[in-house]
Symmetry: C2
Amino acid sequence: MTPSDWDSRPEDEAFREIGYAFVDLMAEYMKGLEGRRVYGPVSPAGLDSLFNEDLPEDSQGWDQLIDECRSKIFPNSMAIGSRRYFGMMNPAPLPIAIFADALCSAMNQNAASWRHAPAATAVEKRVVRWFCDLFGLGDESFGTLVPGGSFANITGLKLALNKSLDRDIGTWDESNSPHFAEMAKLRIYVSDQAHYSFRKAVDILGLCHGQLNKLPVDHLYRIDVEKLENAIKEDIANGLKPCCIVGIAGTTNTGSIDKLDLLADLSEKYNCWYHVDAAYGGAVMLSDKYRHMLDGIQRADSITVDPHKWFYTPFEAGGILVKDGDFLRKGFLVRPEYYMEKSEADERSFHHGDKVNFFQYGISGSRRFNALKLWMTMKMVGRNKYAEWIEKDIELARVLAGLLQQTDEFELTGPNTLGICTFRWVPDSSLSDEDIDQLNRDLQTVVEREGDAWFSHTTLQGQVTLRVNVENRHMERSDILRLLNVLKKTARKLKG
Amino acid sequence: MTPSDWDSRPEDEAFREIGYAFVDLMAEYMKGLEGRRVYGPVSPAGLDSLFNEDLPEDSQGWDQLIDECRSKIFPNSMAIGSRRYFGMMNPAPLPIAIFADALCSAMNQNAASWRHAPAATAVEKRVVRWFCDLFGLGDESFGTLVPGGSFANITGLKLALNKSLDRDIGTWDESNSPHFAEMAKLRIYVSDQAHYSFRKAVDILGLCHGQLNKLPVDHLYRIDVEKLENAIKEDIANGLKPCCIVGIAGTTNTGSIDKLDLLADLSEKYNCWYHVDAAYGGAVMLSDKYRHMLDGIQRADSITVDPHKWFYTPFEAGGILVKDGDFLRKGFLVRPEYYMEKSEADERSFHHGDKVNFFQYGISGSRRFNALKLWMTMKMVGRNKYAEWIEKDIELARVLAGLLQQTDEFELTGPNTLGICTFRWVPDSSLSDEDIDQLNRDLQTVVEREGDAWFSHTTLQGQVTLRVNVENRHMERSDILRLLNVLKKTARKLKG
């Protein structure tokens, strides 16, 4: 058997050979994560040359591809999964999810419709039900998996527009209708800590950016509820139409959680759609200890979840959950003839019935059996173990905060609500803000270049701040102490 | 080592154990495809019960999950990859792509920005370049991978709107601007064979359905170019604004290809954005023999590709290619502070430069290193082998057409342009159209239920027609003969 036999028939022998080789390659990669730089000595221009080849005319062996992974791809990748990676909500992925992704691709089901993928549809319904139950959305709720939080936020805002305009995909038939004038009046409210997907969403949905009102936050980076209500009143006075209030359960910068109950009150009072972006923070619903942080989320009309963040599954796995599942369906109900739905059957195909076509619940057409990795991962891990991991991530971020507070030169800049710790290096308080900004950027750059750890910087209140995110079930207190040493050592060097 | 050790450290031993077990499971599944029914004895309601369990509290072993795959998932799934599956453009996936999907998940790179995923970004740039070169889009072209054709079509239409309205995400700032009145005037043209994603797209982008003008087709199911031009002239006379002409390179129903060169002429003449949906047919560009079928596609402003169709990669893998790559970027250019871009650097980050952030080229935010499976698959297969497979798929569809023509009771209903053969069973020409429709539905249902093959039915010219799609590199003439026997045997039984 040589690698050139890769497509022989019967497939099983060749298939096993390439499969085992890739398992070994992945094991080698993962085992090597702790021994290597977190981030390679990267020159993007150099990388372009490294991969500069035309589409090959002839077949190559897969052994050559494995060599290229070792020599070109691995050294120039971020060591996600390393206990020295404190990055952007990207978890050290679970092995079961990795192989579920392969099995999904081997089966290659089209989870667009139940008739083409019966088991895939049933499993996705089950996973959606788990999420709806987790957030307490009630029996009429339903949802769909999407590639990620950005798509979920677009979907949530689309439903908000549909509600305000009293439209759905079936009725939105007339052109030149007065709805364009109505659209111009809509207003969507969110804090200035909102994910950039909201800016993209209003643009894609045909609105202008001015229609997304980004409101100031309080000292814990939560939306200022009083200013929000004033903005709504002012808009109404100006003849505009409040359409949607967005609550954030775990901001990207600081992991802050808006006062979800108060936002629910305002949404009811002003007849707004209530969307909660729980892409990051939603996972705390798994924890008895921290679930209360999201009180009020059960009152949301739609919720963005993003299991490829704190549910420890690899990219891509997002979802949108909607309190009125039927309204979601009405928003995307198309009926192509080649899906062979009979109209009688369709009447029964609501999500409580037995025949669900997921392409009728969202933007997607053909879609992979992505629910498989969530179903397997959530069954294998179970809620208790998840809670344990999430609680430990939060605790470790707080351990770091406590240690930094004991130093003279690091100042905390955020609330440390979830698994994120933000802080600023201030070696000398007589320095200008601009100089301190630059020193913090430099500190991040040096750590990145030397490869002993990886974290990012961001901007809070106009100031550059460092950002550490703990999301690794194998991380321990010793990893936090090591990070602190890297920070101190690098600071000394920069002062030197 | 027991399955309960699944998350021990160091990971490599447990990781290899679960990995090998899943490779064996996939091999077992794939080897079993030919010996089983193509489609299980499905009752969706029964399936719901089968998977009815709450989110488990405690961890389960992965050996139990493997059992559940065997007992619950496999028997209730469509046998994609079987040589008796003649379905919906879902290829028998290539092993290399299956394991590339696992490796992608093991590395879990966030291919949103080059800084977080240098190699992933370089590889995606390379793959996008291959596609742009394949379609002859020129040096200024660029694009991005997307989850599938629906997202690509939305992106193409969004760019068309931006062009017509002279807007991009950076300038679309004013609310209550006159652009809503302008939006109401826009018109998009496509044939009535268009994929349902266009209906979704206009709805999502804020337009009304009446603004999507679906035009009649000729006898080969290609858009009627004369009627198209008349419609455009009429709209202009009515004060409306032609915005976008969509050409289809491979319709879902029949694989028909619009006259792409003539549509390019019209797009130029009427200053329309020219989008080509090549989700299915784009792959013929790989074949010297059939490339001419898409003449004119190089003149498109944007092209939808969908490698999870005829490039033999598993779900999900789509892409959008844009002649003016810079215009694509302007359409999605957001700059969140936590991605740490310096503005100077950003000026160099155009796709010809070294620093590309793919989240600035499309709807997606965080995104998986999906380019890995395309890069590996395309390198391993090579253009010549791809061409061979595609040419054989087309030939086999024509073999079936030829055999059906020799029968008394089957009539061809489509052009057999690509790997699709559409036909209608007409056992007795004195029957009413409705009766013949029902007989064709029955024939499909019986074959599906008995599990000897799987194909779909659709509607052409108001009549139910059967649809066979060949997309399996292992399929041979004998598989077509077997299918013909299934058709004849089932027809006899129904006449019985």
